[in-house]
Each structure stands twice: as C-alpha cells, then as structure tokens.
Symmetry: C2
Subunit: 327 residues, 2 copies
C-alpha cells in the first residue's frame, strides 16, 4: 500500500478591503482586489493522505465524515492539486478546526487554505506559496489570502494563474488587532456567496463599489507599509460600510445588520470620539469587528464589556502564514 | 394703515422616491426628481399680513416669535413673493403647526408650502399652483410637493422656473396609507441638508443613486396611475434602501438608522412574508414608515403593537392639496 501524506496549518483572516462579488464563480475570480489581516489563534489543521488503495475521497471535519454531496468545493481543490502532480488515486482528509463558532469568524478561509497546503505537501513541493494560494482560492475566495501571515493582498487577476494572494508585510511588522463583538454566532441566514451574487446582479451601485475598492488598494498598501493605523482604519471602515451599502441597495434590498450591529457601530464612533482610536469592520453577518492598536486592546475590551457579555468579546492579533508542521 | 392678508393650509408629505442631494443649494434645485404622498391630518395653517407700517418681517411659530437669525429660508420665500408682486413692505407671519413632533414627521414641507401659499394669497392670485410650488421650494425642497394632494411629482428642472411639482393622481384616486413607527421623535442629529450634502460630495455611489432614481420615475408614475400597490411599494422600498445606502457609503460613513430601525425593517419583511402586503420607507431619521392598502391598516397596526407602544404607531392616509380657507 503506497501512501503519501501531507500536513498543513493555516490561519483565518479578516478582510480590510472586502472581497464582494465574483466575475467567474467557477474559478472564483473576484471583481475586485482585496486586502486582509491574518489572525492568530484561529486556525485549521489538516492532514491529507493519498493512497492507491482508496476508492473515493473522504473528508473528516472534526472527526465527522462529511456528506459527499457537500464536498463540491473540497473536490475542486483536490482535483486541481491531483492534476498538477499527475496523481490518479483518492484522498483521506482529516481536518480539525480551531476556529470556534462562538468567535463569530468563518472557518472556510483557514479550512480551504490548510487543505490546499496539506494536499500539495503530500504530493509535491510547497515552496511556491503563490501556487498554494491559487489552489486555496478554488475552495473559497478568501482562502487564497490565508496562505500568508500579516497583511495580505489578493490580486483579482483574470484567470487561474493571475488570481492569487501575496504578503504585503509580515505579522511582526504591523500593529493591528481586532476585538470581535459576537452579536450572533449562528450560521449566516444569507450565505456570502448568495449575498454577493444577488448584489452584483441587482445593485445599481455595484460597478461603483468595484471601482472604489480597486482605487483604494494602492492607498491601503501604502498605509500598511507605513504602519499608518489611522489610514488603515479609515480605509477599512469605509470599505465595510460600502460593502454593506451594496446589500442595502440591491433589489430586493437586504442587510446583514442586526439591531445590535447599529448599536456597536455607534459605540465604536463614541469610543473613537472619546480619544481611543478604533475603527469597525463588518463581514457578511451581524458581528462587528473593532480594529485597534496593541496599546488600546484592553481599553477597547473594557469599554465594550459595559454593553456586551464578556464571552461576546474575542481578541485576535496578527497571525502567521501557512505551516507544514504542528509547531 | 394698508393691510393685505392671506391664509393657507398645507399638508406634509412623505417621499416614495426620495429627494437626496442638491445641484444648487441656493435655489434648491435637486439632483433627481422625486415622487411623494401627501398625508392627511398633518398640516400647517399660516396667516400672512403685509403692512406698510411694519418695520421688519416677523414669524410667529405656534405663537412664539422666531429668532430673526433662523429666518433665512423664510426670508427667501418672502423675498421671492414680494419681488413677484412688486411689494416693498414687511410681513407678520402667524403659523400653527399641526404636525406633532411625536408623529415623527418633518414640518418643514407643510410649513414652507403654507407660507408660500399665504403670502401669494395676500398679494396676488393663487390659481397658478406650479408657481406656488416654486416659491415653496425656495423654503424647503420637499415643500414644493406639499402644494398638491395625492401623489406628487417634483420635476428637478434646471432653474427656478423649471423646478416645480405637479400632481400625478388625486388623494381619492390612490389606495396608499402609512403607519409610522416612531422610534425617536427628537430632532435629527444630522440634519437632512447636511446629510445629503456630505453624501453627494463623498459617496462613490452618489452618481449611481441619481441615475437610478431618475430611471425609476417613469416606472413609479405608471405604477401610481395603475394604482398598482405592489409596484409602488417595491419601488418605494428600494428608493429608501438606496438612499440609506448612500449615507453608509459616504466618507466618513454615517447612518440615520437606530437599532430599532433594523428591527422594524425585519418585522416588515416578516409581516409581508406572512401574506400581509406592506413595504417600508425611511427618511433622514430612524423612524420606519410602513406603506399598506386600506384593507390592511388595522392588521399592520395590530402586528406592530406586539413590538412597539401604541403611541409609537401613527396612521396617515392620502391628504389634500393646499387650501386658502380654514375648512
């Protein structure tokens, strides 16, 4: 029995300039570039074992076998990696998510990045990180960014080869932290794939969103390289606001906001006006993520403790890129 | 002592396709056409007395003398009417607002429309309603629409002469009613004049807002003429959502939404999905206005009584145009 094994650990990430809408849903080519912060603590460990003896691909998530019908995206990644290395057999994938649902963060980014990394680790050479990013992208757009640590730029590109992420600065070169206010940790009612598709198809504001985001990319890269927290925060907050404005302007209109989302936005403004610099960002869900510098993490957390339960507040710092060992 | 007296009663209105942004803030020429519903019950009564013996213009609102420094917009209307009729003296204006603050509705539309009507009634002929609409516009953009009853279309125009409102259908020709959910009856924190200016200057989505609204105008006119409640409601809800999307996308971003605004929006969707057809609209404030047909007013009100206090729910029906007598 000829076995090939690979392992990878990848961290989740949060977009500072949001990915919102695809131009190719098969290849997951996005309409606009995006820029993200990789987070520490929240990661996925994945082991991939290829064997000629297996008769089908099997995916165990937290030791539970996944329904083959739900493996469409996993299969896209596996097929692409197998093709690249000319492998014809099947795989057993064992994945452990360390992105607790209660943290209000999505696990698809770290999950698909770890899958891509472990599969390539089993069959070939993992040194080409841009290529890992391409494979991860086929599983989930935001996963393309989880290959790298620190601040990451996903080039939208125009085909499989040109659409990949790369690092702008490493995790130890940036002072940018996130306090998530977990307003609802249940699964999204409107999945981001559906939400972005409806928006791209029906919002009269969508073309302006794409243009504004692509224009903001060089500004964000410059701000990140200068470690200019104010500029990073302003650009991130505006990107999130614009993204949620596109959902409101779609037809029929919809919103990911919960009542407490508005409450949290106003509290962020209140805290900022009081002299503690912080900015919000919001993904395709009601949770509000507060960006701040290290010196203010405790102050930000203490302030929100007045309005939310302690277990609703989750702190994350810049995280590292993909690794192929457990340590 | 040579006195000339005039009187007018004008009703307030709610925009179905929103007015949001000016191209000329002096003449109040809007960037886009708008369409509104005039409301019964909520109105302003205004008496204007011109006399050669007066030495200044005085404005009494609910019997309180207004600070002359706050009379800028009143003066614009008065000056324009005086010029039109070659009158050189001053005016005493006595205005009674029957738009209770607790109804969550603005009184500037009915107030400036009644002022324009009463001033013209004192000095000349009130039969040219389009001309009254122009004078009212100089006091407050939305006042141009309060000259007429039923459903009203304000042509944006390109100069003073071409920017005026006219009736699409009369109040007895349309089955369209409004239940306001008064979430906060205090004055707006960000006045609509400032909010629309900031939006027009900084939102990357603003040009698309103007284009989308102007494109929706003929659709709304057709829907109104057919008394097509579904189409009117869908267009109105989308217009309101787009308007609030423009504030979110401005830079820095802002919103008129309160937490309860999101709650009310979701309740409207829930009620509609349960088979009671209704749509929301929201102006430059947190209050949510629910549009429904006559047959559903009680059902809509009863549903929202489960979530809001009875005094927070205010019903309004289509109202009539300007009148020059008290009855």
């Amino acid at each position: 029995m000829n076995k090939k094994q690979g392992f990878a650990r990848a961290h989740t990430n949060i977009a500072l300039l949001k990915y919102w809408g695809k131009v190719d849903s098969d290849l997951i080519l996005p309409a606009n570039d995006s820029i993200s912060l990789t987070l520490d603590k929240f990661y996925t460990d994945t082991k991939v074992t290829f064997s000629d003896d297996y008769t089908s691909d099997r995916f165990y998530l937290n030791r539970h076998l996944m329904n083959p019908k739900k493996m469409q995206r996993v299969n896209r990644v596996l097929e692409a990696v197998k093709n690249e290395f000319g492998y014809q057999g099947y795989a057993k994938i064992e994945s452990e998510n360390h992105v607790p649902t209660s943290a209000g963060l999505a696990s698809s980014a770290s999950g698909m990045a770890a899958l891509a990394g472990a599969a390539v680790d089993a069959l070939g050479d993992v040194s080409d990180l841009n290529n890992l990013s391409r494979f991860a992208r086929l599983g989930s757009g935001s996963a393309s960014r989880s290959i790298f640590g620190g601040i990451v730029h996903w080039h939208r590109g125009y085909d499989h080869q040109s659409s990949f992420a790369e690092q702008i600065v490493a995790e130890d070169e940036i002072d940018l932290n996130m306090v998530t206010i977990v307003i609802d940790h249940r699964k999204k009612k409107i999945k981001s794939t559906l939400g972005m598709q409806h928006t791209a198809e029906t919002s009269p504001f969508y073309p302006a969103w794409v243009e504004a985001t692509n224009q903001a990319v060089p500004e964000m890269i410059a701000a990140v390289k200068e470690n200019n927290f104010t500029k990073i925060g302003e650009l991130a907050e505006h990107s999130a606001s614009m993204m949620h404005a596109t959902t409101l302007s779609s037809n029929p209109s919809f919103t990911y906001f919960a009542p407490e989302t508005i409450q949290a936005i106003k509290l962020v403004e209140q805290l900022r006006n009081s002299g503690i610099e912080c900015y919000y960002t919001i993904d395709a869900g009601p949770n509000v993520k507060v960006l701040c510098q290290s010196k203010n993490i405790t102050r930000v957390r203490d302030f929100f403790k007045n309005y939310f339960a302690e277990e609703q507040l989750v702190v994350a710092k810049p995280g590292s890129g993909i690794k192929f060992t457990k340590n």
